[in-house]
């Protein structure tokens, strides 16, 4: 066995272990350990990606001395490695970009706790990406939920507590459904390992045994994960959680936490239930419908919002709608577009959150649009970065958002007509609405007016600007060099089945 194949196991255990170590040190060292660990895992994931691109084969890794159906197992393919690499990059940049705020908004004695949460969040994300066992997935979903709740409420004020309670309630409903779904699947198939469940499910679908429990289990797992990733009707916790938590938390939550659940859902669709069974169970049409509703309703709420952070949060609702719409199309192209949109949305949304913080800094910490007028002149890097993010969200060629919209439209043109028309119409409406609220914001921050905040100097640290520049580069790279990434995604999805 190649030594490089130990990388997934090593990165999960390393981040878990660093969480424990961080509890013993103060905030300063916690920060350094955290940055070091994320960088190491990022480098390792990059190496793994190259290795897998070379071998062109996924492999499973035994967690312990016992082979597949008896022991735990993790699995790595191109898509998993790509996601791990990407999540590490986003997490590192979000933490660096929001660091000043983090140090200001969190009590010094609680800063090391923040980094514990981040380390364990990273480990749970990696475990969700790599796992090949449903119950392991459930355990790490819970770690993910609890640490995300911690990230929301560590900036202690009434809004974040309320948001954290709402988030926990919705997440717990989701976890309850997910756990019951896993139990039912276990009951019908007798396995917890993804590949073994899949072979049993295929036999069950062929013979028609236990049809009702299977459909109920699929529905529960899909709805549970959809609730957890804030699909449209279950998004009530989202605006406050993203709007009032500290900037790094908002960036990490919007770009990584919900994406982790979506990735798990995609993995379950392919590796546990099997694509044909999912398609025949009709559950996917529900996700499709909710996705379409989310695309429109999220954008409408964002237009009527008067607070820049909450506006970006509502835009997240719309983007999650896009991702579910892509999954709901039920084709390989739709799925590719969804996975690409996970990447592109993660890169753009974290950029927007970090840039918005710079703009509010230049406007006396006010998040209201009226105070933000002309903010781009007071904090030029943040203004430019925000504009890039907005253009990417709207879908201007050259940025990452354009490619995902292109992929979505090509995917739905190849689809059956009764799904193609509503999708195209919704895509069009949603893009126009997107353009309205993002362009409104960009025009406002570039309106040259005299403002009471003109003479207040804005501290632009090197770290902040550096993070913004990296984010912008990431966006442009995703937009310009999309072909290799799309082919990697397609290769990874093929490895799934």
């Amino acid at each position: 066995m190649d030594l490089l194949q130990n990388i997934p196991f090593f990165s999960i255990l390393l981040s878990l272990f660093s969480g424990t170590v961080t509890s013993m040190v103060n905030g300063k060292w916690a920060k350094r350990i955290n940055a070091f660990i994320i960088t190491v895992i990022m480098a390792m994931s990059g190496v793994l990606l190259f290795y897998l691109l070379g071998t062109k084969e996924s492999y499973t890794f035994m967690m312990g001395h016992f082979p597949a159906p008896w022991g735990n197992e993790i699995r790595a393919g191109v898509l998993e490695a790509l996601m791990a690499l990407f999540f590490c990059i986003i997490m590192l940049l979000s933490l660096i970009g929001g660091r000043e705020h983090l140090e200001k908004e969190i009590a010094p004695s609680k800063q090391n706790l923040y980094y514990i949460l981040v380390n364990l969040l990273l480990s749970s994300l990696l475990a969700l990406i790599y796992t090949n066992d449903l119950f392991t997935a459930y355990v790490f979903v819970e770690i993910n939920t609890i640490s995300a709740c911690g990230l929301i409420m560590i900036r202690q004020n009434g809004h974040t507590f309320e948001a954290a309670v709402r988030y926990m309630i919705m997440s717990l409903l989701g976890s309850g459904l997910l756990l019951l779904g896993i139990c039912i699947l276990y009951d019908c198939t007798g396995h917890l390992l993804m590949s073994n469940i899949k072979s049993s499910v295929i036999i069950m679908a062929a013979t028609g045994n236990y049809h009702v429990p299977l459909v109920v289990a699929i529905a529960f797992i899909c709805v549970g994960l959809a609730i957890k990733s804030a699909l449209f009707p279950f998004h009530s916790w989202l605006p406050n959680a993203y709007g009032y938590s500290t900037a790094s938390s908002a960036a990490i939550l919007s770009s990584l936490v919900s994406k982790g659940y979506i990735f798990l859902l995609i993995k379950i669709c392919y590796r546990v239930i099997g694509w044909e069974v999912i398609l025949s169970s009709k559950v996917i049409h529900i996700l499709f419908l909710f996705g379409l509703c989310g695309m429109i309703m999220g954008s409408l709420s964002a237009i009527s919002e008067n607070d820049i952070r909450r506006m970006i949060a509502f835009s997240s609702v719309a983007q999650i709608g896009y991702i579910y719409m892509g999954i709901g199309l039920g084709t390989l192209e739709g799925m590719t577009a969804s996975v690409y949109h996970i990447l592109s949305h993660a890169a753009t949304k974290s950029l927007l959150f970090i840039a918005a913080v710079g703009l509010t800094d230049a406007s006396g910490q006010s998040k209201k649009f009226i105070d933000l007028t002309g903010a781009a002149y007071r904090n030029k890097p943040a203004g430019v970065a925000f504009t890039v993010g907005a253009l990417s969200m709207v879908g201007i060629p050259g940025f990452s958002g354009f490619i995902s919209k292109l992929l979505f439209s090509t995917a739905c043109i190849q689809n059956t007509p009764y799904k193609m028309l509503p999708t195209l119409i919704c895509l069009g409406i949603s893009t126009i609405l997107n353009a309205i609220y993002f362009m409104k914001t960009v025009i406002r921050i570039y309106t040259p007016v005299k403002s009471p905040y003109d003479n207040i100097p804005v501290k632009k640290s090197f770290r902040y600007v550096g993070a913004l520049v990296c984010f912008v580069i990431l966006n442009i790279v995703l937009g310009m060099c999309s072909t290799p990434i799309v082919s990697m995604i397609q290769m990874g999805l093929k490895m799934f089945s």
């Binding site: 312990g64 004695s109 364990l120 019908c188 007798g190 009702v212 429990p213």
Partner: protein
């Protein structure tokens, strides 16, 4: 007839105090238990004014008195809740009616997996208790995640409820958080019972942890028992006594040591397992207390973490730190 005592010497006997207590003339708590009156309410407004304000808020939120629509909405909300519950029940019952029969030996989950656990578990893990062998050896990755769930939950409770000692201006918060201020202290009955029962509880907990691979129980149940013993001790004797041997620092050190040992031990066994190397950990004779390889030390680690976590939860909920 015995010699009658005079009243003075009779008053000193136990019989006298017993009959006085029996007749209800004496309060056994008075003068024995240290009672402390609650702090007077600092807010100058009277209780009535506060109630009025609360009612005003309730009015504004629900507006039950005036707004028929909201009342209607509340009724509809109740009805919809019941319908939702019934619909969910129906779907689940439908699912249950089609799922395999309970207790039937030929169910789908009776496959090769439990067969190997039962038939070879003793030889492969060395644990007599098959469930322990399963969760700490076959499926150890889940259990590793699970102990970190406990760890991260404590961290979030720390974030929410810990009141830092060195921060100024937090005296009021500390007062408010410490609800031991409002209850009687040094209850003689509780203390006597605790002296007898706490050592027994803790010894039982240790027994359950150490025999986790031989009998029902293990790290989690034993840890919870020890945690309960510590909480009882805390209730009887107060924070001043427990803080002599258990503070936040102790908690951190115990948690750190146990979880790191757990992580490292399991990393070693995952690594050797995946790369097909010999782990070199002897399994011992099944049934002996020092057997089954890593399971006993792991059970001890898990037990320590769980006991400390239970105590930490309680202390944080009661006082905001320990």
């Amino acid at each position: 007839m015995s010699k009658l005592r005079d009243e003075e010497s009779y008053k000193k006997t136990k019989a006298y105090s017993f009959f006085r207590w029996y007749r209800g003339e004496k309060d056994p708590f008075l003068g024995e238990v240290e009672m402390q009156a609650g702090h007077p309410y600092k807010d100058k407004r009277t209780a009535e004014e506060l109630m009025q304000e609360k009612e005003a808020i309730m009015d504004r939120v629900y507006d039950i008195g005036h707004n028929k629509e909201i009342k209607f909405f509340k009724t509809v909300y109740g009805i919809i809740s019941v319908i939702f519950c019934l619909a969910l029940t129906f779907v689940l019952l439908l699912m249950v009616s089609y799922s395999p029969k309970t207790g039937n030996p030929g169910n789908p989950n009776e496959n090769e997996v439990p067969v190997r656990y039962i038939e070879n578990g003793l030889q492969e893990t060395g644990a007599v208790n098959i469930v322990t062998g399963m969760i700490l050896d076959y499926r150890a990755f889940d259990t590793l995640g699970e102990s970190h769930v406990l760890f991260i939950a404590t961290i979030t409770v720390f974030i929410l409820l810990r009141i830092d000692k060195d921060e100024k201006g937090k005296e009021k918060d500390r007062e408010e958080a410490n609800d031991r201020n409002y209850e009687p202290k040094n209850d003689a009955i509780l203390q006597v019972i605790a002296v007898i029962i706490v050592p027994l509880i803790i010894i039982f907990g240790i027994y359950v942890i150490l025999n986790g691979h031989l009998s029902p129980g293990g790290g989690f149940s034993g840890g919870a028992i020890i945690g309960a013993g510590l909480i009882l001790y805390l209730n009887a004797f107060g924070f001043a006594k427990t803080e002599r041997f258990f503070t936040e620092k102790t908690y951190k050190i115990i948690c750190f040591c146990s979880l790191s040992f757990y992580c490292l031990a399991k990393s070693y066994s995952f690594f050797t397992g995946a790369n097909h190397l010999e782990s070199g950990i002897p399994l011992g004779t099944p049934g002996a207390i020092l057997s089954s390889g890593l399971i006993l030390p792991l059970n001890i680690c898990v037990g320590l973490v769980v006991a400390c976590t239970m105590y930490a939860f309680y202390a944080l909920f009661r006082k905001g730190g320990f």
